[in-house]
């Protein structure tokens, strides 16, 4: 089969690789009909996530049709159309039983690596480094899905791939990020980053009752999408001092909840931006936390900070003094995707949201290298790339 393989920093290749096989009784094989490039794939692309190996198959947002089932999978049939959560969860452990699916105890065969760095291991993820399992990803013609009896989610007829594909990651991720904002009536939510997750977070914040959403980015088409389709007020951080602007817009109080939908590769401006970029380049810190610092400083006293942005390791110069003295609540985590599949599918079926709005580019699997290129550099007004194998 054809698969998108990571071959080194900023190098992906579509290669011919062996077809996946059933390796465990609870596995399934999926013939992939749609798969997407995610913002967090760019962290792999740019070489910031350790434990990647040449030849790793990328991709964690994918859906398709069941073509083969392991002996223990009884609740899904061959031919079923399914979406696949990017978090791999067993459904049996303490964490899965408590609806904390991205913290699954049993799905990471390389848990010891994560434990060395983080103390404990989160769940395994598709196509996301050997530290998080080393599972082959779904930017391919076929994929093996472990724990398929809890990991596959059947899609009812009448919905297109583009409408349901993002149930695998970015829609639940934006939704959980908004849920983590603990939105109350009258609340203003400020969201740093208007990439795909930011766009879904804007919609979700309104769905959860936010009074106002203010979205922050620098890419014109992203800001335009946030404003026109998301009904957010927007700020371009290259044009205004975001902290001051937010204070003015909220009567001096600051936003009730602030979200960092940016993560480890935030663009900074001025001296601070240069500092982080230099330190990250020299591997003296793993992440550039520009957005996170701003979020903490901008949030109103007693407010909530929500972090869906992916961080990988250790970051410098965090304003913990601000976080502590302003009594902020911080909520974060990889998305508990399984938790949101059913309710968010219902939102799609009810017409509350059509997630396909975020797609700007649809291309063949073979064009993945070009897809990564334009997505990374925001060329050609690119917001989200979907690949069709």
């Amino acid at each position: 089969m054809k698969a998108v393989c990571w071959e080194g920093t900023t190098k992906v290749e579509v290669k011919n690789v062996p077809d996946p096989k059933i390796l465990n009784p609870r596995d399934a094989i999926i013939k992939i009909t749609s798969t997407a490039i995610c913002g967090s794939d760019l962290h792999l692309y740019d070489g910031y996530v350790p434990t990647m190996q040449k030849g790793d198959i990328l991709g964690h947002e994918f859906m398709g049709e069941v073509v083969e089932l392991g002996s223990a999978v009884k609740n899904v049939q061959i031919g079923d159309r399914v979406v696949v959560p990017f978090t791999i969860s067993c459904g049996n452990c303490f964490f899965c039983n408590r609806d904390l699916w991205s913290l699954c105890d049993n799905s990471n065969p390389n848990a010891w690596i994560a434990e060395k760095i983080m103390g404990h291991s989160p769940s395994g993820l598709f196509g996301y480094s050997h530290m998080l399992g080393g599972y082959a990803g779904g930017q391919a013609e076929y994929a093996r899905v472990p724990f398929a009896d809890v990991g596959l989610f059947k899609i009812p007829d009448g919905l297109s791939d583009d409408q349901v594909l993002f149930l695998t990651d970015i829609f639940p991720t934006g939704y959980m990020a908004a849920e983590n904002c603990d939105i109350k009536p009258g609340d203003t939510v400020a969201i740093w980053g208007c990439g795909p997750v930011g766009q879904f977070a804007i919609r979700s914040a309104y769905m959860l009752g936010a009074d106002r959403v203010i979205a922050i980015d620098r890419v014109p088409e992203r800001l335009q999408m946030a404003k026109e389709q998301g009904k957010a007020e927007v700020l371009n951080y290259e044009e205004v001092d975001v902290g001051e602007a937010l204070k003015e817009m909220t009567g001096g109080r600051g936003p009730d909840a602030c979200m960092d939908a940016v993560g480890m590769e935030a663009h900074g401006t001025g001296l601070e931006g240069f500092y982080d970029e230099a330190k990250q380049a020299l591997r003296l810190e793993t992440d550039r936390p520009t957005a996170l610092r701003q979020v903490i400083v901008a949030c109103r006293k007693g407010g909530t900070v929500s972090i869906p942005g992916v961080y990988g390791g250790f970051i410098d110069k965090m304003p913990m003094g601000a976080a502590m003295n302003k009594a902020l609540t911080m909520k974060m985590g990889q998305t508990h995707v399984h938790r949101y599949l059913k309710p968010l599918l219902e939102h799609i079926q009810n017409g509350d949201i059509d997630p396909s709005f975020v797609i700007t580019h649809s291309m063949k699997l073979e064009d993945a290298p070009k897809g990564y290129e334009i997505f990374k550099h925001k060329k050609d007004n690119c917001i989200k790339v979907v690949l069709k194998p």
Partner: protein, 235 residues
Amino acid sequence: MELTPQNKSNEQLPESIEAGDKERWASLIGGGAMVLMGLRQRSLRGVLMAVAGGGLLYQGAKKQSTLKQAQEAIGLNQPIKVEKTVTINKPAAELYSYWHDFAKLPTFMKHLESVTVIDSKKSHWVAKAPLDTNVEWDAEIIQERENELIAWASAEDADIENSGFVRFKPAPDNRGTEVKVVLEYNPPGGAIASAVAKLFGEEPEQQIGDDLRRFKQLMETGEIATTEGQSSGRE
């Protein structure tokens, strides 16, 4: 608040090594003459043997954690000793009965080739060693309490003198069972030494941890998570 440097000798005082909990296994090898007798043999095996042989168990009268003393004492003889605990979301009885059938241990203990059960006490172990060789030994169950504990030790003439126990303790609030493994082995001298070093890895603690994690996966999910044999662009 003033921070004073730790007085090292303080750490040896009984009050600082007070046993914090009333775990059964601590009491098993805890306190009293039997343990001291075992300690004279300077090994966990000795402690287990002494306790099993005498059957005189009592919660350390001075509430001292003799495990820590045992560790120190054992350290003098420089055997390798590891301990690891994992919580498994299953009742103790289920875990105990799986483990008690030693023949099943190789399903999750990667370095074991096979374990053959000879009778209710004795078994024969074959472990994979480098260069397509095996290391073998006989072992004997020296203590067992249903659904709680299994302790074993290698026979006197084993190539690798080793011993250990696994303890099953219910976790709070129906969180399953805390499974603790303590394992000790004496690296032998001579040609076999390097083979044994490789056998248990450079970080035996991690290997035992990985074995326990696979046991947990098998017990909780019915299978062991793997990526071995999956597709990649490396083939």
